[in-house]
């Protein structure tokens, strides 16, 4: 039996894991060498933007306000 969790709680778990995933991406790009290394700052910045997108998806009702963080 899989325990069901609320949407917000699920999104918080996702947010928590996002830093590790960003780290994996950064390591992968760095190991790729050459031009891939150049992508690291852009990828990190976009992943940070992604955190807001995750938050907006988690609390649909507040989606318009979350973007005002920008």
């Amino acid at each position: 039996m899989i325990r069901k969790r609320g949407r917000l709680r699920r999104q918080l778990v996702v947010l928590g894991s996002a830093f590790g995933a960003t780290g994996d991406l950064t390591r992968g790009l760095w190991r790729g060498g050459g031009e891939k290394r150049l992508l690291v700052p852009l990828a990190i910045f976009l992943c940070l933007t992604g955190l807001l997108l995750v938050l907006a998806a988690g609390v649909e009702a507040l989606a318009p306000f979350i973007y005002s963080i920008f």
């Binding site: 995933a21 994996d24 991406l25 390591r27 992968g28 790009l29 050459g34 031009e35 150049l38 992508l39 852009l42 910045f45 976009l46 933007t49 997108l53 907006a56 649909e60 009702a61 507040l62 989606a63 318009p64 979350i66 973007y67 005002s68 920008f70």
Partner: protein, 241 residues
């Protein structure tokens, strides 16, 4: 809102091409609604409701066929062409069918209340469209035919609601109304959030990406054409990159 909507409806339905595409999209919505009702029939433990839902599902499928037939006829009379008619859906959202109902999550009473309100809204909309199509008698006949069915659906869902939840029917109807209102708000909030998100990402695209794009294009030019040799995956232990 209704006062405002009617001129918009006249404008939307006046153009035969827009009319054709709207009918064809209604066909898809009706078919979806039929599938939701079939799902409700599969899930309910109430034998009478199951039979009614199945019948209702067949009606929705029939409506889909009627809308599709009329839409296709209209399109043929216009000489066809690509699907590029501008669809002002945000002005006149039209038929929403069962409004993304999650049939699995609703009990019989809640679903009936929801269906009742949806059918009532659909009946109202179809009456307005029937008035708005002007001299197009065939399309008006389609709406009027379907309108009769929608009225029946509206009545049976109300009666069944009174049967399955005699004491809670009023509360269930209010809850369904609030649910519809909340869904409308969520649609609006998500759409607005989407617009903001698109603006933010588009700004990032033009401000941040150019130097990276230059580097990526340069790298692309050096890429070999055809097969790429794959390195051995022995060290791979299942990471996400």
């Amino acid at each position: 809102m209704g006062v405002l909507r009617n001129p918009i409806q006249y404008w939307v339905w006046r153009d035969p091409s827009r009319r054709a595409y709207r009918l064809l999209r209604f066909a898809e919505v009706e078919a979806d609604g039929g599938r939701d009702l079939a799902r409700a029939a599969e899930l309910t433990r109430d034998a009478r409701l199951r039979r009614l839902y199945l019948r209702h599902a067949k009606d929705e499928q029939r409506h889909a066929d009627i809308f599709r037939g009329r839409g296709t006829d209209l399109l043929r009379s216009l000489g066809g062409g690509a699907d590029r008619a501008w669809q002002p859906d945000w002005l006149a959202p039209g038929e929403r069918g069962l409004d993304d109902v999650r049939v699995e999550r609703e009990g019989d009473g809640a679903l009936l209340a929801f269906l009742h309100l949806s059918e009532r809204e659909a009946a109202r909309s179809f009456a307005a469209y029937s008035d708005a199509v002007g001299a197009d008698c065939d399309t008006r006949n389609v709406f009027q035919h379907i309108l009769r069915d929608e009225t029946f659906h509206m009545n049976y869902t109300r009666r069944e609601l009174a049967r399955v939840a005699p004491r809670r029917q009023g509360w269930l109807l209010w809850r369904a109304r609030l649910g519809r209102f909340w869904k409308s708000y969520l649609r609006f909030a998500v759409a607005l959030g989407n617009v903001f998100g698109t603006i933010v990402l588009t700004l990032q695209y033009f401000i941040l990406l150019p130097p990276f794009a230059w580097a990526a294009k340069r790298a692309e030019r050096r890429e070999p054409k055809g097969w790429v040799t794959v390195a051995s995956a022995t060290a791979d232990r299942g990471g996400q990159y």
